[in-house]
Amino acid sequence: MAKSARGEPLIVMAGVEKFFGAFQALHGISLTVHSGEVLVIVGPSGSGKSTLCRCINRLETIDAGRIMIDGEPLPEEGRALARLRAEVGMVFQSFNLFAHKTALENVILGPTKVKRIPREAAERQGRELLDRVGVGAKAGSYPAQLSGGQQQRVAIARALAMEPKAILFDEPTSALDPEYIAEVLDVMAGLARDGMTMVVVTHEMGFARRAADRIVFMADGRILEEGAPENFFDSPRTQRARDFLARILTN
């Protein structure tokens, strides 16, 4: 549909249903993310975008359907699940940097404790990553001493440090002051250019148009549209998408 040069299927969701009590958050979601692809999920608040994103690394359990990562079914719990999560990075809306650890300590915790990389090597790699996202000078700072944009870039470095097969971004710029949004989007666009597989839930339509290989539009827990960014933004097929775009683009 979207991009011609496409890798192997990396994340496959089939018939995924999710309930919060009596409320159904996801209705029969089937979606495939290919290796190297940048998939951007857009839609109105409460449409299930974040829930979908969080199901992929099982921060939310699912009630029906199945999810495969790189050909393996998503483990339900225990060490197998921890191993899988190490392979799928996640960047949160509220950054969630470990509050009692410096930027560098945040980045090397996973490599030293999960991958058992010696501390020196992990620190070297950690400093390189912090440099790559432009916060190398803040390696010794605690999260509370950093701006939102700096925190989110450290969080991206923390995800990258695990050398994941894919990274999930759950509204990574929604909690940022406007002046910090660009610096985080720039880092994400850089990752996209480098071929990282990314699933991005966002309200940043400019980023979606520029960086996405494919757009998924969700409303009421369903995928209503799926296609190349130019098709979606220039000629949305559904009324819901037209309404959504009209509202968000006039703002």
Binding site: R79, N96, K113, V114
Partner: protein
């Protein structure tokens, strides 16, 4: 007040004895209490059940009964030891239940995003607890842990009443009970002894609270 100055050596020994019991119990109860708190928030139901049962039973049992069970009950089933060991063990078991609940409230106060971030980089449950959640939880509950510590120091007097000997309470027993010295000055000296332990300990905790405060 002559009775205090005349028996300074006895008081000093008592003070040291109480300090010894309290230091031992503080460390042991902190470790046991943290482990129990880990049980109580564990995803493994049997561990949660053990943690809950422990706290429900021990926290609601008078300390005197716990100590009776240790000092007199254990020898009946063939477990022998000194009164010091039994007393310290009993006070540890009792205090750990309160440490557990203080730490558990701290775990509840740590933002859920911290645990989600820990899981998302592949840490197992026990790793997230040990490396991410507990270090923040314990910092947050230093003041209530201080309350538990103060109660524990005072409870060590009950351990003394079980005849451990060589601690502050037994000083009063010796001077007032055995030698017939007047009670008021004797007990005033004992109170002074507890204050000498508790007030600096409180100041230390205050310093620790400031030093380890996690900025958010």
């Amino acid at each position: 007040m002559g009775v205090i100055t005349d028996n300074l050596g006895l008081y000093a020994d008592g003070l040291l004895g109480t300090l010894k019991i309290c230091a031992l119990v503080a460390v042991a109860a902190l470790v046991l209490g943290i482990v129990l708190a880990g049980f109580r928030v564990s995803p493994v139901p049997p561990l949660r059940a053990v943690g809950t049962a422990y706290v429900t039973l021990v926290r609601n049992c008078p300390l005197t009964i716990v100590l009776f069970a240790f000092a007199f009950g254990l020898p009946e089933v063939g477990v022998n030891g000194s009164y010091f060991i039994f007393g310290a063990a009993g006070l540890t078991i009792y205090t750990a239940a309160f440490v557990c609940e203080a730490v558990r409230s701290g775990i509840g106060a740590v933002d859920t995003g911290q645990a989600e971030a820990a899981r998302s980089i592949g840490l197992t449950f026990s790793q997230s607890l040990r490396l991410v959640i507990l270090p923040q939880a314990i910092r947050a509950v230093i003041p209530p842990l201080g309350n538990v510590a103060i109660a524990m120091v005072k409870n060590s007097a009950i351990v003394g009443a079980f005849g451990v000997g060589g601690e502050l309470y037994s000083v009063a027993n010796t001077l007032n009970g055995a030698r017939g010295e007047p009670a008021l000055p004797v007990y005033a000296g004992v109170v002074l002894g507890y204050l000498i332990i508790i007030i600096p300990a409180g100041l230390l905790l205050l310093a620790a609270e400031k030093r380890f405060r996690v900025a958010r």
